[in-house]
């Protein structure tokens, strides 16, 4: 800084060079970043359809976490409070799901009406036997049950757990994580994502295609009550946009043809289940 103003001149030169330099902006919805396969985004506890945490306090995540960033506490099958991590930051987990998953008598459900609806136990057994009770067929069995009932009744899950000797917590967890409905619904709810990324990627075209396919407008339900069409920005699938969500399962990226196919399949399955019932 020998000469006054030389700093300003240097700065001006830098900005002027940058004015012509190549830009680093990425045009997001058109130009997607390359996301590594194992990237899982921001970690969060997933909620089940009751709005309760799905965490079963099994400590597996805490045990494998390489940087020991996970703490938790809960109740084991004996009703003892169990903990993992530093004692100062325990949070008491006393919600109904934690009790239920731990095999304890749970408090009344928020929607007890049809949760433990009686199921056709022999049919459930037959379905399981059709797959020879193989544990890897669990999801296929769920799908069969859901096709029949439109959701997974708790009694069916209990029966599957017993019959296949899979721990109840695993059955329930697999059902929830697999995106199966755990509560009866009037029909399938198809949500077309309305987030900015999906809109740019062609969300409106999907909506138009589905409206044409179902013969209803967004916010309406088909005459037979099997499908309701919605628009929502809570699908949360920016990386696979444009996306739609059927009940709790997210599909994407879709084009109009694939979206029609997904919805047709769901309707067909529901209709088949309805006639079987």
């Amino acid at each position: 800084m020998a000469f006054p103003g030389i700093g300003i001149a240097k700065g001006m030169a830098t900005t002027f060079r940058n004015f012509f330099a190549p830009k680093v902006t990425r045009f997001y919805p058109e130009q997607r970043p390359e996301i590594p396969d194992r990237w899982r985004g921001r970690l969060d506890l997933i909620y089940d359809p009751f709005g309760e945490h799905k965490c079963e306090v099994c400590f597996q995540c805490a045990q494998v976490c390489p940087v020991e960033a996970i703490d938790m506490s809960g109740f084991d099958s004996q009703g003892n409070r169990i903990r993992f991590g530093m004692p100062e930051i325990y949070d008491e987990r006393k919600d109904a799901n934690a009790y239920r998953r731990a095999g304890l008598p749970a408090r009344p459900m928020r929607n007890p009406a049809r949760w433990d609806e009686a199921v056709d136990t022999p049919w459930v057994d037959a379905t399981i036997d059709a797959f020879n009770g193989r544990p890897e067929a669990l999801v296929a069995i769920f799908r069969a049950v859901e096709d029949r009932y439109g959701y997974l009744p708790e009694q069916a899950l209990r029966r599957i757990s017993e019959r296949m000797t899979i721990h109840w917590a695993q059955v329930f967890g697999a059902a929830g994580l697999g995106g199966f409905r755990l509560l009866p619904a009037p029909g399938h709810i198809v949500t077309v994502c309305d987030c900015a990324a999906c809109r740019f990627a062609g969300g409106p075209a999907l909506l138009a295609a589905l409206e044409e396919e179902l013969g209803i407008r967004a916010g309406e339900t088909t005459r037979d009550g099997s499908v309701s069409l919605e628009v929502g920005s809570d699908v949360g699938a920016g990386s696979i946009s444009p996306a739609i969500r059927v009940d709790t399962l997210v599909y994407g990226p879709l084009d109009a043809e694939k979206a029609r196919h997904v919805v047709q399949e769901r309707r067909r399955a529901t209709a088949a289940a309805g006639s079987a019932r």
């Binding site: 700065g11 001006m12 900005t15 940058n18 004015f19 190549p22 830009k23 902006t25 045009f27």
Partner: protein
């Protein structure tokens, strides 16, 4: 009523209406320039969604402001609160009257154009003070006082830096000053110190970086505009950019030959063609200086308030006086008239 008077009134109304309407696209263009140029200097692309290449971003911002809710604080002095944005905007718009766009394209070619210009431009201080006071908010009031302190301080070196040029050219009319420059060369070479003082002061006068403490986007809420919203705020915002345009235009006219081309003005170009030719050079120079102001904003940080005042009173004012004395002595001794 004689015909001459009616013609004069009609001509005046036409010119003022045109200039008032001109301020709006001018502000849009400069805001767009600021968005894009600063983005480029930050290695960004900047707005790119609205219109081709984001061309209508600032325009859409302007219309958005119209649609916004316009709130007035309960305790505010409604009359003056409403009047303040108008005063600031009118100060900017009125000073456009004397800007020499091109030969035959000056709304009012006063023989005291330079005096009128600085007098009218000074009115915006009143608007800012009124805005701060009427808001019934101590932050607004402080912001208003700060801006008044800044603008009043810088008006003195700003005006004094011109006096040298006025003494040299012996006129207070913009068109005559440009005619003088055509004959003797641009004032840039006659008054380099005056140019430097004028440029620094004009940046402070129109609240541009590095002297943008009045609004100080990143630090203060918005200075005297804290309580303003909707189009009222829009007027302040617009006025700032119109003032930047005006200052750049005046800078071009006073020191860079205004509508004159860098080479001798073709004498045969008269009438409409000559006006267009002059307009071309005037806008080229003006937007060049607007670009420099934007470029400065992309580069420099904000100075401190005490530094701001120190520069005005301890550096620019003495320098302007010295420049004036030297010019006056030179004019007398060398008989430059």
């Amino acid at each position: 009523m004689d015909f001459e008077l009616l013609l004069g009134i009609g001509r005046f109304l036409l010119a003022t209406t045109f200039l008032l309407l001109l301020t709006v696209p001018t502000a849009f263009v400069i805001i767009q320039m600021e968005l894009k140029v600063i983005a480029s200097m930050n290695l960004r692309v900047g707005p790119n969604r609205v219109g081709p290449g984001g061309l209508f971003q600032s325009t859409i911002h302007g219309f958005k402001v119209l649609a916004k809710e316009d709130t007035v604080p309960d305790q505010a002095d409604r009359g003056t609160f409403t009047l303040a944005p108008w005063m600031v905007y009118m100060a900017a718009a009125m000073s456009m009257l004397v800007i020499p766009f091109a030969p035959g394209a000056i709304a009012a070619d006063f023989n005291i154009g330079i005096v009128y210009f600085f007098a009218v431009l000074g009115l915006s201080v009143v608007g800012l003070l009124v805005a701060g006071w009427a808001s019934y908010n101590k932050y607004s009031l402080l912001g208003g006082l700060r801006s008044a302190a800044q603008m009043v301080s810088y008006e003195i070196p700003l005006t004094l830096s011109i006096v040298g040029a006025v003494v040299l050219a012996g006129t207070l009319s913009f068109s005559e000053l440009i005619a003088w420059q055509l004959e003797h060369g641009w004032l840039l070479i006659w008054q380099p110190i005056g140019l430097g003082i004028f440029y620094v002061s004009s940046l402070a006068e129109v609240n541009r970086t590095p002297f943008d403490m009045v609004e100080a986007d990143s630090e203060l809420v918005a200075g005297p505009f804290t309580e303003y919203s909707g189009m009222r705020f829009g007027f302040f915002f617009f006025a700032e950019y119109v003032a930047l345009f005006i200052m750049s235009g005046i800078l071009a006219s006073l020191f860079f030959g205004g509508w004159l081309a860098p080479w001798p003005f073709p004498a045969q170009l008269g009438g409409f063609v000559g006006t267009l030719y002059g307009l071309f050079w005037f806008f080229l120079k003006t937007y060049l200086f607007v670009f420099v102001a934007v470029w400065l904003r992309a580069t420099l940080p904000r100075v401190r308030v005490d530094q701001l005042m120190g520069v005005a009173w301890k550096v620019l004012l003495p320098l302007a006086l010295v420049n004036l004395f030297i010019t006056a002595i030179a004019v007398v001794v060398l008989d430059l008239k």
